[in-house]
Symmetry: C2
Subunit: 326 residues, 2 copies
């Protein structure tokens, strides 16, 4: 089978490509081709010689580019390409062009192929489709009322995905990812960056800034879980989903205090002491508008599984870092 | 003030234009200009000589046309232009072009004017944004999971409206209209046509077909209420709406049996006897997927008002018909 990953240079896309190459198959079918696409050329390599890997840098908001990618008739398409929340908020037109028009080009390209071509399309959505005031926990029938353009674009893409699937043009699954913790690498400018930073930096012997109160609660999942969600979404039976094609993925609802306490248990007092409380009113205000807890019954019912606990998330990050440096 | 009505040749748009011309003002401000736009030239006339009426036939999915309409900087824009559910289902591309791209052109044209131009935009959405299985009654926090392309397009437009309003580009209000009963004129091919037909035809001395069971329940409002919703949406204080700019309008949840019984009370046994029960399994299946009852608390809280009862709806239709034929 042939697989296309849109957004393969991002953290989750890269890990997904590595996992697919390591497995050599998806849903029991051997992988013969893996097309990796992103705005910069994806650096993934490895895998069996029987897998033809193609790497391409391009613009997902260029219709001809997208049409050419889909013309290769991949059996499974993972669509992770997006600009992040902060950039979509700062550059309104770019956000709609990349995050919305890009998805529509993908869907229309698929529809245009015709001839019984109905690939599985796994779309990464986000809990940013929800906006306060929330019900708590947020259930699978709560309205999408995003408070960012990024969230609006994801919610609109979910509606496209459902309608194109209902019409039989594509076999879509949308997965609303929790905040991914622990992201490897450097801190970034995302308001959510500290959720990874307060674990990653102390484990690397570096101080980390905690800009919010200890009682802040958030919905998180590990990078490994995100890859697991994607692979399950690509192989699950979509029949029972009906017209509701997007699912809130199961995460862990944990407070900052619980995160730091777990860090102490797993890595010791010295690590926990590296978390420095430096309140930032701007970040506090942004985070106050984010969802804290979900009842992800539907995803659990359809076989998606969450991380066991926050200690597992920390240990998985430590193992990844050891492998990388080792 | 200048007003633009997109979709002014439709039943509700026409009645809205007539009501505005008769009032001569909106929200206490005199109307100086009324631009009427539709795919066919709107036939509305009348009103004071101080109101400059312009009529134009054109294509809402033509960006240049929309940009030119908005360049006149109307203070209030009523956007009712759409192709109906059945046509959007039959012609997928046309549905997205008219019902979605048209709205986006309107919003982007407004944003492009700039210079502090932030008009009130009243968008007619629909209860078709909801799809079964429902909560009952459907509250203001229930998810949009449409089961038609028309419903998907309306739900997407609501997300655009909310995001463009949140960003300060437009001052939007979306109103989800109930099924409008009694529609004047001839039966049409809409599956909902019989809800008007079983009242309109008997009152005109003609037999009407009832294709569904008597216990079918539906959410309805009169044409006069629809005009009232539009005018209130154009003049209300939008500050308290926050980011949730679309509201389910208050209707009446009535069964077919109650409709026919009310017809009997208002117009007599002979009229009620003209309703002929001819079950149609196709229509029964379609209607079974429609919402039956809403808790429209939010709209009521913001000052929208429903019809008093179904007898008032029938009497209003009879008065309209008497005026038309008289």
């Amino acid at each position: 089978m042939k697989i296309l990953i849109l957004g393969a240079a991002g953290m989750v896309g890269h890990k997904l490509a590595e996992a697919l190459l390591a497995a050599g198959s998806l849903g029991g079918r051997p992988i013969t081709g893996l097309d990796l696409f992103d705005v910069v050329e994806p650096g993934v390599s490895g895998g069996a010689e029987t897998i033809a890997i193609a790497r391409q840098a391009g613009d997902i908001s260029d219709e001809a580019t997208v049409t050419a990618l889909i013309a290769a008739r991949p059996d499974v398409i993972f669509h992770l390409a997006a600009i992040v929340s902060g950039e979509a908020e700062a550059d309104f037109e770019k956000g709609y062009r990349i995050n919305l028009d890009g998805m529509r080009f993908v869907l229309d390209a698929i529809r245009s192929v015709g001839g019984g071509y109905v690939p599985r399309l796994v779309f990464t959505s986000s809990i940013a489709v929800f906006g306060s005031p929330f019900e708590e926990p947020i259930t699978d029938t709560f309205l999408n009322a995003p408070l960012t353009s990024y969230g609006a674009q994801k919610a609109i893409c979910e509606l496209f995905l459902a309608d194109y699937s209902r019409k039989g043009f594509v076999d879509g699954v949308g997965i609303r990812l929790p905040t991914i913790v622990v992201r490897p690498g450097k801190p970034n400018k995302a308001a959510s960056s500290f959720f990874s930073g307060i674990i990653r930096e102390p484990l690397a012997g570096v101080d980390a800034v905690l800009p919010v109160d200890d009682d802040v609660r958030h919905w998180v999942a590990s990078p490994a879980s995100a890859v697991g969600f994607l692979i399950h979404a690509a192989t699950m039976d979509t029949g029972p989903l009906g017209a509701r094609r997007s699912l809130t993925m199961p995460g862990l609802s944990v407070t900052v205090a619980e995160m730091v306490e777990t860090l102490r248990e797993v890595a010791g007092e010295e690590a926990a002491a590296r978390v420095k409380r430096v309140p930032d009113e701007t970040i506090k205000a942004i985070v106050a508008g984010w969802p804290r807890d979900f009842d992800a019954s539907r995803a659990l019912q359809f076989g998606f599984t969450a991380d066991a606990d926050f200690a597992s998330i920390i240990r998985a990050h430590m193992a990844d870092e050891a492998k990388r440096s080792g």
